[in-house]
Structures are given as C-alpha cells and as structure tokens.
C-alpha cells in the first residue's frame, strides 16, 4: 500500500507541498475549507498566482483534492473532517500542516460597525465580486499587506483616501533597505509605490475611532484628522493558524510552530510549512512547502537543494517581524465600553478585572463564541499578555451532526 500523505491547506505552502510530494508514488490528499485552491494570496485561483508558480495548481487532477472541507481536529494518524457530505475521518502516515495565517484585529471604538473589515478581508470580498469602483476606502493598521491591498483596490477603481501605517518612518526605511539584494521583493515594492503615487500615505499614525450611523462613515486618526469613507479596512499584522498543530502537541515558540530544516515539527511524521512557521509571504511558503513534500516522501536530495533559499526566506520573515512590531500606544485604543469579544459582546471593562484567559472565558464568555478565540484571542494576548491555554477539539464551531463521525 502506498504512503498516505495528507496536506491541510491549499494555499501556496500546501499547493507546493502537494506538487513536490506528487513527484513520488505516494497517495496524496489536499484539503481546504475554501471553495477554491489558492489560499489567501492566490485566492480566486491560478490566475492570481505569479507565472512562476502557476504550475503548482496543475496537481489537483492527480491527487485527492477535497475542497470545502474543514479539518476540525487531529490525533495521531487520524484527521476529523467536516465535509459537504457530512463528517468523516481520514488516516494519514505523513501530515503536512499548511494552515496559513489570519489577520490580527485590535479593538478600537467603532470597530464593530458594519463595513469595518480586515485588510485581507476586504481584498477577499472584492475578489468575491464586491463592487469597489468609486468607493472611498481607508486602509489602516500595520504591515506590507496594507500597501499591497491598497494598490490592488486602486487598480479596481477604489478611491483610497489614506493608507495609515503605525510604524515610524525610520523603521520603515530600514525595512526598505533590507529588501536590497532581493530583486523580486524590490520590484514588487516599486510597483506598489508607482500604483500608489498620489495616495496619501501616513506613517507613525493610527486609527483612534470609526464612526457612523448603521455603518462606518468616517474615521478618526491619532493626529486629529477625520476622514470620510465607505469602507475602513483595518488589521495589525498576521497570526498563524496554529490550532491543529497545538492539538497534536507540536512545540510552538512565540505563536509559531517550531520546525527543523526539513520542516519537521516536534511531533513524529508531522510537518509545518508557510505562515505557520513564521510570517513570510508566498516565496517562503512555496519553498517550505516544497521541502516538506520532498522530505515526507523520502526525496531528501531534492529537498537539500532548496536549503539556501529556505534560509533566505526565513531571514526575510524575521526582518518583517522586527520592522512591523506594534507600538504600545495601540493598547490604549479600546475604551472601557469598547467590545473586545465580538461573538459575545464582552467589553474591555469586563475583561480588565480578569486575571487570565481561562478566567475571562469562564466569567465573561470571552472566546466562547463561534470564533473560538480566533479574533479576541489575538487581541487579548496583545492587550493583556494572555495566552490561550489548550486547544480543544473541534477547533471550529460545528453542529452536533458534524461530530458524529463516519470512517472512510
């Protein structure tokens, strides 16, 4: 019987893992909860990937590609799935985790208003055909995603009223200089700069409030400025989706999965790739995915040829983290009556008296709603330094029917 390699996540990292694993005769299953492969950056499919990566989509015909399938939990050799056909279990010999990342949202007055969305969130909705031409958009928070999304939306006819980045200018310039020697990233930066010529770009600046009747109509900045808008896209960086890795007992450091040079985690036969091991974008995701796919199928020779690129990608990821570190003032944005847990409408004042995440959950229901702490967990970690203790099965809220498993 051939080796069962299961890959969770069909973003750049998972697609690359599937591609290199399929150079062997292993039996490969690629799972993603989304309707289409591509993950965050290539959302919408092959056409959104740069030419050099489009071949990675070709494998979907030769492997078992399970779309709209959530991996709810994992144990040794077994995954628990919610599929369009109902709950199922799936056995694996090798597991490659490529769950990617989500945006970090920090609470501020008005952030729960309709049309205050994530930066990647707005990008995703626009790719899903949200009309944006002629709409006034403010993009705020931190990280390279702000500029990437601003230029994409502008190309689609949005009026970008402002890009608001919390990082001080000196830090941003240092990051710019660190790109020297990385031609792909330099070119990308230059393209963004050109696309955003004439767009107001504020550094050292942040949102203090969103206001509006029924939906966002204007935003306030810390420099006193008020800007009218139809959408506020706001996020403060990315956090890795480490829930499955945690459930399997993989070692984490600073909220990322620890891996060795073969992308192997601290658990036998479990690999982690892409944003899970450190935020680094598509190139890092593809290199790591390829390495894991090769190693998991015993092709060590091919994996070792990627070692230098892997080291470079990891270095870029560290520069990114250092350059876009969040400033302490952002902890003061939420006011006493600002909602921190959106699922249960728990306010800052209610949480301030709690000593820990666990106690907040028990006393206020913070983190007990449908997001299972995926939004408020990141926020409370930043605000109070709380870490989420254990990750219980299932990692997504599901209906009881989904918990009644059928073996396949």
């Amino acid at each position: 019987m051939s080796l069962n390699v299961v890959i969770v996540g069909a973003g750049p990292a998972g697609l690359a893992a599937a591609w290199s694993a399929s150079q062997s005769n292993a039996n490969i299953t690629l799972i993603d909860q989304a309707a289409q492969a591509g993950g965050q950056i290539w959302r919408g499919g092959q056409g959104y990937a740069p030419k050099r990566y489009r071949h990675l989509f070709g494998q979907q015909t030769t492997l078992h590609y399970r779309k709209q399938t959530h991996v709810l939990g994992a144990s040794e050799q077994q995954l628990y799935l919610a599929t369009p056909q109902g709950p199922q279990q799936l056995r694996y010999d090798r597991l490659i985790l490529a769950n990617g990342a989500r945006e970090l949202f920090l609470p501020f007055p008005g952030w729960t208003l309709p049309k205050v969305v994530g930066v990647g969130g707005l990008q995703a909705l626009v790719k899903g055909s949200l009309p944006i031409a002629g709409k006034r958009v403010v993009i705020a928070g931190s990280g390279p995603l702000l500029i990437a999304v601003a230029s994409q939306l502008k190309q689609r006819g949005a009026i970008i009223k402002a890009v608001v980045e919390q990082v001080p200018i000196a830090q941003l310039l240092r990051f710019g200089r660190s790109l020297v020697g990385n031609p792909t990233k330099m070119l990308q930066a230059a393209q963004f700069a050109q696309a955003l010529a004439n767009t107001p770009f504020y550094v050292n600046t942040w949102i203090t409030a969103a206001e509006g009747e029924g939906e966002v109509q204007q935003v306030q900045l810390n420099n006193g400025q008020r800007i009218e808008c139809d959408y506020l896209a706001c996020s403060w960086g990315l956090i890795a989706n480490t829930e499955l890795a945690q459930q399997l007992g993989c070692r984490l450091e600073q909220n990322f999965v620890v891996v060795d040079r073969s992308q192997h985690t601290s658990r036998d036969q479990v690999y982690a790739v892409g944003e899970l091991t450190g935020i680094g974008g598509e190139d890092k995701a593809v290199i790591e995915g390829q390495i894991a796919g090769f190693v998991a199928t015993g092709n060590y020779q091919a994996a070792s040829q990627l070692a230098q690129q892997q080291a470079q990608a990891r270095q870029f990821s560290q520069q990114l983290a250092a350059s876009f570190a969040l400033r302490p003032e952002l902890r003061q944005l939420a006011q006493a009556n600002t909602i921190v847990c959106r699922c249960e409408d728990v306010t800052l004042a209610q949480l301030q008296s709690q000593p820990s995440w666990r106690s907040a959950k028990l006393q206020t229901r913070c983190g007990m709603g449908i997001c299972q702490g995926r939004v408020c967990g990141g926020a409370t970690q930043y605000l109070f330094g709380w870490s989420q203790d254990s990750v219980r099965f299932p990692i997504h809220s599901v209906s009881v029917a989904d918990l009644v498993m059928e073996s396949v």
Binding site: Q33, A34, A35, Q40, Q68, R102, E103, F105, T112, P114, K115, V116, V117, G118, G120, G121, L122, Q123, A124, L125, V126, K127, G128, S129, L130, P131, G214, E215, N241, I339, R342, C343, E344, D345, G369, I370, C371, R374, V375, S397, S399
Partner: protein
C-alpha cells in the same frame, strides 16, 4: 457573466453567479446577523475565521457567507 436569482430575507435579487455571498450582502448593506446586544454585523475577515458573516441558508443555520458562492435559488435568511 451569468445572472442568477437568490432570495435574501424573502426578497428576490439578481446576482452574478459564483459571487461571494458575504460580498453580496455587504454591497446591499444587509447585516448578516445581530450581535448579543443587538448590533448589526457584517463580514470582517472574509476567510472563515471570525464568524461575523454567519447566516441561515436553505434553513440551515450558522453558515459562513464568506466561504460560499451564490447559486441559483439559494434562500438566505439574516437575523432580523
């Protein structure tokens, strides 16, 4: 692009086939749900993690609109 019909809170709308349901609701300024304290909410993350976009589809509650494409005859109900 093919146009299809879906119903949202009992009203029929013509939308482009395969457009994202959360995007359609946001464009029409229809709140997906009411929060515990009664605030209207719409999609935030666009990628299936925040749960703010959940709606009832064909009588099945708690479906994440941001992970779904519109298809002909879909019946969408948002919390009033």
């Amino acid at each position: 692009m093919k146009q299809i019909r879906i119903s949202i809170n009992g009203t029929e709308y013509q939308v482009t086939e395969h457009s994202n349901l959360a995007a359609v609701l946001m464009d029409k300024a229809i709140a997906n749900r009411r929060s515990v304290t009664g605030e209207p909410r719409m999609a935030v993350c666009g990628m299936g993690s925040c749960g703010e976009c959940r709606v009832t589809i064909n009588q099945q509650a708690h479906q994440l609109a941001c992970l779904l494409q519109c298809c002909d005859g879909m019946e969408v109900d948002c919390e009033p």
